[in-house]
């Protein structure tokens, strides 16, 4: 269930900014999906689901690859310094090949 304090326009702007972050990494990121909700403790949360290219997974050390995508999302979306700061961001990663096997609709 989507749980958010944001207006429809804010949600639209947010989705646009997420798209822009994904485009900053054409060789690494296939797509980024996100949803608002509550984490296991009930705190407001944003869940990012990031599909990376198989080539990037092979080529780039894992912490470096995930770290730069996370930093870009936090910085470009101003996650800690804006109306989004009430949400705790969480990041999940999988490769394109893994998603093609798992076929999880939330990641499409």
């Amino acid at each position: 269930m989507a749980t958010t304090y944001l207006s429809p326009q804010q949600l639209k702007d947010f989705a646009q900014k997420v798209e822009e972050v994904a485009k900053k990494f054409p060789g690494e990121v296939v797509r980024i999906r996100h949803s608002f909700g509550r984490d296991w403790d009930g705190d407001p949360a944003i869940y990012f689901r990031i599909v990376v290219t198989d080539e990037a997974r092979r080529r780039i050390p894992l912490a470096e690859l995930t770290g730069k995508i996370k930093r870009a999302l936090i910085d470009d979306l101003a996650l800690f310094a804006s109306e989004y700061s009430v949400y705790i961001p969480y990041f999940n990663f999988r490769t394109k090949a893994e998603q093609e096997k798992l076929k999880d609709p939330q990641w499409e």
């Binding site: 984490d39 296991w40 403790d41 949360a45 990376v52 997974r57 050390p61 894992l62 912490a63 995930t66 770290g67 800690f80 700061s85 705790i88 969480y90 990041f91 999940n92 990663f93 999988r94 490769t95 893994e98 998603q99 798992l102 999880d104």
Partner: protein, 162 residues
Amino acid sequence: MGIAEDLLMLAGRLANPAPGEPEQASLRRSISTAYYALFHLLVQEAVQSWNGSPTARFGLERRFEHRTMKDMSNAVWRGSWRGWSTPSPVVPPELQNVASVFVDLQEARQQADYDNAKTWAAMDAQALVADAQFAFDNWRTVRAHPAANEYLLSLLIGNKRE
């Protein structure tokens, strides 16, 4: 090696299950184990200066609460945490990394342990283990910093009373 390092090594193995091994169970245990590796690293660091008996030390270790540790780590991560000394110590980026990984791993661990509807990819677990390893490395770099010391105190007793 201590239990924290052993757990981290085990988490790495579980994140790469061999063919024929139960993949989802292995990935779930990997994520949970990576969280407890970092949890025990921080708790051990916090209580190591305690000079009481082993029994008392064990009792102190049991006082750490996951929820308080998450809240304090979240505050450190986003820059809203205030230490105990005045002025509050500047938080080095290595400590922010440790705190951010703690928050992320705790949520992942709850999902891995309790949400059986969720399917994990190997990269999910491997990324979390890599984050945990990076947090261990960063902790070694920053553990003598005043902010790190006050962070450990916050993990045990929460916010400073104003």
